[in-house]
Symmetry: C3
Amino acid sequence: MSYGTSSEPVLSTGVTGEPMELAGSSAHRQLCTRPADDRGRVVINARGHLPQRTGEVDKILPGQLDTTRPGRDNRQRLEGRMKTLTKELWMEVPQRRAIVSIHNEVERLVAESDVTDGLALVNAMHITASVFINDNESGLHADYERWLEELVPFHAGSDPTTGGYLHNRTGEDNADAHHKRQIMGREVVVAITAGKLHLGPWEHIFYYEFDGRRRKRILVKIIGE
Amino acid sequence: MSYGTSSEPVLSTGVTGEPMELAGSSAHRQLCTRPADDRGRVVINARGHLPQRTGEVDKILPGQLDTTRPGRDNRQRLEGRMKTLTKELWMEVPQRRAIVSIHNEVERLVAESDVTDGLALVNAMHITASVFINDNESGLHADYERWLEELVPFHAGSDPTTGGYLHNRTGEDNADAHHKRQIMGREVVVAITAGKLHLGPWEHIFYYEFDGRRRKRILVKIIGE
Amino acid sequence: MSYGTSSEPVLSTGVTGEPMELAGSSAHRQLCTRPADDRGRVVINARGHLPQRTGEVDKILPGQLDTTRPGRDNRQRLEGRMKTLTKELWMEVPQRRAIVSIHNEVERLVAESDVTDGLALVNAMHITASVFINDNESGLHADYERWLEELVPFHAGSDPTTGGYLHNRTGEDNADAHHKRQIMGREVVVAITAGKLHLGPWEHIFYYEFDGRRRKRILVKIIGE
């Protein structure tokens, strides 16, 4: 599997100071096929031409770990004091929009942090993407897509009188993405109790890409004791 | 007053390791009638058939503490280090939707935590409910109800071409609730300064139930010194 | 420049225990003209009569530091333990609505806090304003204005059957502001790594005023080590 031709979202988890997993290695494939398959992640076709009326989706994609690019990170375990873990996850979604589970990766980082009691901040580092918590159910994800497109439709133009956005005067066509991200939110803050994410039974952490087809980052910052 | 027949929202605050208050006891009644009476909490009638045009509400309900069920919790006060308090509050709203003040309870937990400087995370542990901060004013709460119903109407069906939601193919009828919660948000993070919630004069912490009639939890996680 | 007659948003950063900068002093003017000029901040004309169809804006205003009024604050640097910094920023926007950058001020407070690893909470202390992170681009800000006005139009009346809001029965005319703030959010939580805000390349911290023409506060709370 080559990332250059992959059509699946790619999540990088390189950790400074730890051995990197190699793309295509067995460790990598194991990560790719892990528990991702039973997650309902929906990807709408490019340029926002999503099938609004029917709720049909193009594809259900598994999440992937891309280990080709390390994130800026550090982990600090001061004696008897606050512990922190900082990790940037790299994400590449080959479609314009997609919902990708990052739940297991955040769970893994909490274990790695050795924090038993504290907070985990998980935020998109890009302003056309969200991190949110909701149901791991593909029908709902398609509903979100349709709903967000109704609230703030994709339009590449820059003339508001014809449905465009002034932001697109900059040469971008992603003004709608900057709006959708405000609805779904930039970040979640999750409690850590007894060394684990302290979540309700159906809470699941997702990354929502509104303007993909390029590498972006998600930040996980854990502090506690 | 029996919880089985109560039509009021019920908030449980059982604390492991502390004596439980008994339902129906004088302590309980005191909690029930505490400062809740002057709060404008609005409950719309069941199944989302709220009076959209008039903004009329069925009922103004007081908040209630239900002490019959303890939440998972812990409190840690390490010597000279970070302190934490973790508490799950149980909530049961007998209607489909309601706004319930949890402000006093969060305030009480901050005092109990003994944290003078830190952060309090308050989040819904269920994905069809919100925790938010806004005005303690019943007219506004009715406005929210009408507005959210316009942005994402209740519909029990699963066919998007007739106003339904794909999520409801799962057998649920609460897809609208998963959307409304994204508008109002999952969580608030509030500063603690000088041992108290550090809030503006009109900031008030609420739980917003979008799919009630069952027990749900709210998490309060406090960390600091 | 006198604040009484100023038509520009005013941000106060008084720090207890530190020398106050004087309004009109050279230090103050320096702050006023600092990097604010190239920020696209949009102010819509008063009372919500914004030009919905064209996206035209009245004015691009620079941000300003108002040092005439200190905020409640403290800074704690316990030996070898958690550090905190608490600062209230005072803001006065002379128009009804405006987007004002508070990015540099938050950056400065992080440096002042001496926290190298931790979290910064930045929240509006008023319930008709938001703190959010998105692009520092004036066209987008005008798009936001037009979009929010479509989602929840300004109306001074209190009769929902004619477009008003029940909240306005209280004598206020700002019900729309309480709704807009829910879309854009109350707060952001930002990681601090290596002594700096840990943000993506385009993340910029803004205050969004939805009901200005009076003094309001923003809280910055920093905790970490």
